[in-house]
Symmetry: C2
Subunit: 407 residues, 2 copies
């Protein structure tokens, strides 16, 4: 009889609640006693804002709704734990609360920053010889976590982006005059999401015309030149560009235009306006109609179109974390290991959190075309299996039904 607690942290994905379900259902199946949820992650824990997940997820229908619910069911936070040294008070408080609730294992579903939380709690726990186990469950649409083939959340975002690109490409061809559509995709430093737009190309779709990732310095002259060349042979161009593309001197492309910046508590800039800026440059250079589309937060919350592979893997990483913790493991993250290509197969594998926290995995340069305006087939081959198969929404009165936290 063990008690566990689970939290969600960082930006949501369409399948972060499938990871939560993986933790919940596995803990239930393995006869855990209390299964708690932190509301708004570690911040909620510090405020003792804690719910009993058995009261929240009562029926099989609730579980199926939870899988289809966008955003983080428990709420999230961007609270970064301070360094242990000099801030022992915070850690003391956390462990006091965990002791008060008689917690045996602590699970945190999140990305880079969240794995830093697991690392610090593990380290502090070790230093005071706490028996509590700390396990990370990876999630991020950005796919920028180290030591894992990919992250749960990425496949669904990739599927949404590729499917949406197909629709935008159809739409762009509708008139008989030239149109250049620039689509801005999330991805601050890693271009995985933008790269997924390459999947649009297929038997029924000519695909996007150029793809720009933040891994390669953005060359505006080359961009304009190639756009002009492509316009000679195509009526409609659709160009995918990462919000994080930077020019050679290090400035974000969106910073070249008038723009309000926003810095969050992790020191991240809020980026947007890249597509608008580039569209205006194309309009000026070639006098054609342009459109700027920002996929915005729809990329991370379009729960109506998820990848079944992604849903399953998200569930499995959550479940494997519980199983490993109950078997005594701590300080690890459950990663995905691709054990076979063609057919694609992935298994879960625990990795030391110290190898993962705060490390950012970018798109390998050898998967990007030499002039930096497209991606290579290897990258498409890597992503394709991750977007396979579907899970239909549960439609109620014409709309997808979600599960809402009860307070």
């Amino acid at each position: 009889m063990k008690n566990i607690i689970v939290g969600q942290s960082g930006g949501p994905t369409s399948v972060i609640n499938s990871s939560l379900l993986g933790v919940f259902k596995t803990a239930k199946d393995l006869k855990c006693d209390k299964i708690y949820g932190m509301v708004h992650g570690i911040k909620g824990l510090l405020d003792k804002d804690i719910v009993d997940l058995r009261e929240q997820i009562k029926t099989d229908l609730d579980m199926d709704l939870l899988k289809r619910t966008p955003s983080s069911f428990l709420g999230s936070c961007r609270y970064k734990l301070p360094d242990i040294e000099g801030n022992e008070e915070t850690y003391k408080k956390i462990f006091e609360i965990l002791d008060e609730y008689k917690i045996d294992a602590f699970f945190y579903i999140g990305g880079n920053d969240s794995m830093d939380t697991i690392k610090k709690l593990t380290d502090y726990g070790n230093s005071i010889k706490s028996p509590i186990r700390f396990m990370g469950v990876p999630k991020t649409i950005d796919n920028d976590l180290a030591m894992t083939d990919h992250t749960p959340g990425y496949g669904s975002a990739a599927k949404y982006i590729a499917a949406t690109m197909k629709e935008i490409i159809c739409d762009g061809l509708v008139y008989d005059y030239p149109v250049v559509t620039i689509v801005e995709v999330m991805g601050r430093n890693a271009g995985w999401l933008t790269a997924a737009s390459a999947l649009a190309r297929g038997e029924d779709c000519s695909g996007v015309d150029m793809i720009f990732l933040p891994e390669i310095p953005f060359n505006i002259d080359l961009f304009l030149k190639k756009t002009g060349e492509l316009l000679k042979e195509n009526r409609s161009l659709v160009i995918a560009v990462s919000e994080g593309v930077k020019v050679k001197d290090g400035r974000y492309v969106c910073e070249l235009a008038d723009h309000v910046e926003y810095v969050d508590s992790f020191g991240h800039k809020q980026l947007s306006g890249t597509a608008r800026y580039l569209a205006s440059r194309v309009a000026t250079a070639y006098g054609v109609k342009t459109r700027a589309i920002e996929l915005s937060s729809l990329q991370r919350c379009a729960a109506h179109m998820t990848s079944r592979i992604d849903i399953t893997e998200a569930f499995n990483t959550g479940g494997a974390a519980v199983k490993a913790a109950l078997n005594g493991l701590t300080g690890h993250v459950i990663t995905l290991k691709r054990v076979s290509e063609d057919p694609y197969m992935c298994i879960t594998e625990p990795q030391d959190v110290h190898l993962i926290a705060n490390v950012e995995k970018k798109v390998p340069l050898e998967w990007i075309s030499d002039d930096g305006t497209f991606v290579k087939e290897e990258l498409v081959h890597y992503i394709r299996p991750l977007i396979q198969a579907e899970i239909a929404p549960l439609w109620v009165d014409g709309l997808p039904r979600h599960l809402k936290i009860q307070r």
Copy 2:
């Protein structure tokens, strides 16, 4: 044995190809001989850019793919026929081409501007005693056509908007700090699309917090005041605003900010930036995090999420147009008539094109709340049946498959 020709015009909808299929399949079933398609509407006709639809839509699978294909399969145009008087040459040329192809009936799938084309062709045809029949098949996501309960295309756009709002509302609640999200919805003069965001409210969703339609002059002071009041009681606000909202002096809200305009050949301004402008006003007034989301062309091309009711009605209006024309009718548009509420039932009904062309149907003021910040239940009750039921994409290798025109 009759020959027919069909074209698509104006902005696309997710179901405009279901109307095309309704025309094609009904003509085929009624033993028409040649079934032609104009490529890029009347403009393609003038260039004799014409395809044989039997060569394009060959199998039952093609038909099912066509239903699920976004944008206008045949391509569209925004070409407005000139007034007959003084421009007889253009009309002479059109009728010469129609005679060359031995056309008995002409079908045009489109909105307000396209119905103007049908009107003019009917009038010119009558003046020269041509036996060719001209029929309009309505489509527009804007739902602004007169004399019809609603337009095919609206229901699917409404479903996409309502479902997306639900996802954005979930996403907005994820953090524990205040966030105001402004979502910009299409709709130049009529607020039907923006009004559909009211459907998000339900058992599992608190709904959007305010809705602003272009039918009511936009009052920025009231907007800011109510936003401030709502922020006192809610962590996250989601506000739907039509791209076409104007302040009292007649300027579009997006014109209050720096903005590049675009005027198309119908004299329409391209609007965008309304959400961004309002988000920056809220950020300045209340110091909260804001987000601006433009649903952009995804509203009209999200073929992966259509309303089955809409698909069926689009097909039926196309089919009814063919049936009526073969029975001798000309100069009419097939409209939808709601013959029953609760349960909802609609039938098709031909209406004189002269009563429809160039008339814009706006949201009735009595369906908008008194202070202009939300819509009334009557409006929700009107829209709700139009978003019912689904048609799943045909998924191939992880993505929705479409039908592509063969040239």
